[in-house]
Amino acid sequence: MRLLPRTLYGQLLLSLCFGLIAAQAAGIWLTLNDRARFGEGLLGAFAAQRIAGVITILDQAEPSERARLVHSLNVPPTHVSLDESWQPASDESDATKSFVEHVQHELDRPVAIHVISIKPAAAHRREESPATAGAEHAREGAPDSSREGAKTGSAEPETQTAPGASADSSAASASATGAPAPVPTTDAERRANRRLHMNPPVLFVVGQARLTDGTVVTFRHSLPQPGMDWPMKLLGLLAILGISVALLSGWAVRRLTKPLASLADAAGGLAHNLDRPPLPETGPLEVSQAAKAFNSMQRELKRYLETRAQALAAVSHDLRMPITRLRLRLERLEEGELRTKMDNDLSEMDDMIGNTLEFLRAGSITEKASKVDLDTLIESVVEDMTSVGATIRQSGAISAPIEARPMALRRCLTNLLDNARRYGGGQIDISVTELSDAVEVNIEDRGPGIPESDLDRVFEPYVRVETSRAKHTGGTGLGLAIARAIAKSHGGDVRLKNRAGGGISAILTLPIQTVS
């Protein structure tokens, strides 16, 4: 299972290539097989003709002349002998019968013919060792090379009987082992075969005919393997086929799966950016339909969120008029504690509205990014916070300006410092560190900290840990949500963690280069 590719691309490519190549291989095999059978048929017909010719000549010849004739008819691939006795046929297969019919058909006069065996010599040849070949060479130049038919089998005398041996033992041996006596083949012939790229004989036909005068003619005919020239050409063809199939299907499958990959990207990116450009609705029908569905889902989601945001914005908006009026009404009151408190309440309401609207807008900030000197920005925020009573120690500096939206970033840092001031109490440390591809601003307070389980929850809008305390210290519950939204719009993030010595550490990371 592990070996199978996990991507759709890999799986499709693999099955396509595998399927196509398997189909091609099967096709080629079938063709070759067909051709081989056709070749066999041709060779068989040739063998039948030849044997029929030999029998006819011997039948018509004077018995005294036959020995001489046999000598001259003994031309490979047919070996003829007259000195073997009639043997029972051991092979009754269809191939044998059709071969006999073929020979009969070629004869002028009917002659009794039977085939002792038609056997593939593959098993026999496989056992032929180099040592045998050496032995053959040693015997080269023997006076009657044509009579040395048994020499190919000389390594295994127990399965092989020389044609020149006693007819009885030869026949008994041949029929007992089922291995036909091979047709004698000279070395010269073998060399010629090799030169002509002919395959060594694979089929031996051993048969006998009883001539009209009763003489028994034994013939051994070797059928060469019909041209199964698989080799290089075919393998080359298969290789070319394989490569082109792999390339073509690779291209086609890539084309098919690419929209899927971008769909996955789009779905993954949707969580971060609902305003991402719609997917191109192109490609095959199924893919373009998926893209269409995705785009409409994105539109619907966006519309839904916009509707909710609009409702919230409208409420916040509408609250401004009464607040404005209240402020004007307050101007009519005498200066005093009551008026100051009411003023503060109004300011708090104003802040809540402002923060809510700011939070709703944080995702779609229109401010342009520019190069920002982060050091002076932090310094300014620290200065502003100090003027409202915070104790802040600043350390660290970075070498170069970063790419950011200065007003948004200032709001983000202000919110984080404000949070540290409200909940921390005591001194706040702010430090900036330059990493290889990001800047990290660390804001540490000395407050009681937050339970680990709430560390991420406090970033949700309007969530406060320990409501009673939060009320006491003020705040709208949006500060951290806005800070994180701004950080994320810069491609960064804000994380909180409890410090070992107590208190919270808020870590703002900003990538040095990219601003989305």
Binding site: M321, R327, E358, T366, L377, V381, M407
Partner: protein, 236 residues
Amino acid sequence: MDKTLLIVDDDTELRQLLLEYFGERGFNVLVADGGSQMWEAVRNHAVDLVILDLMLPGEDGLSLCRKLSTQSNTPILMLTARGDEMDRIVGLEMGADDYLHKPFIPRELLARVKNILRRTGEGREEHHAPKALHFAGWTLDIDARHLVDSAGVVVSLPAGEFRILKTLAENPNRVLSRDQLLDVSSGREAGPFDRTIDVMISRLRRRLNDDGGDNALIKTVRSEGYLLAGKVERTL
């Protein structure tokens, strides 16, 4: 001589409250609930300043603002909803001289009104509130409340320092006393500052790479105050 204000807002109660507020502070106040009443008032009275709400039924404030600013020189203060940044920017482009978010603090509205009237009273051609001030290679972005150096790098300013620098740059080559500067430096957000003006000036100089010497951008005028020397250009 009392100045005449025209308040254009569709909220009856707010109109009434503003009328009382400015009336008690020595202004002649006219009110209008929309475009037609506004035009009528402008035709029949010498109006020194129009306070125009952006959200009006019928013809909206932006459109009225554009028409009014092409027809007359009367300065306009737009009241916008806070957060509607687009409205604010568009409002200024449509010819408003200043803007204020709702819900505003009455004293701040009063200060803005006085500011505009002072600018127009001095006979300055452009009485629009500038978007940016340029001096000695620096740009002071009024909306964003930060400095931009000649290389385009944003250099942030604490609120108090921003206000001091803005005041100095709005009145170039004019000596401003420490008291004047202290007045502007303490805004609502910042509250009263512990730091003296001198400390803030020295920090400003450091940010501006200003050595305070003979060629200083911010010059110290002994026993009088400070001034910003050189030419200041305004982007409206």
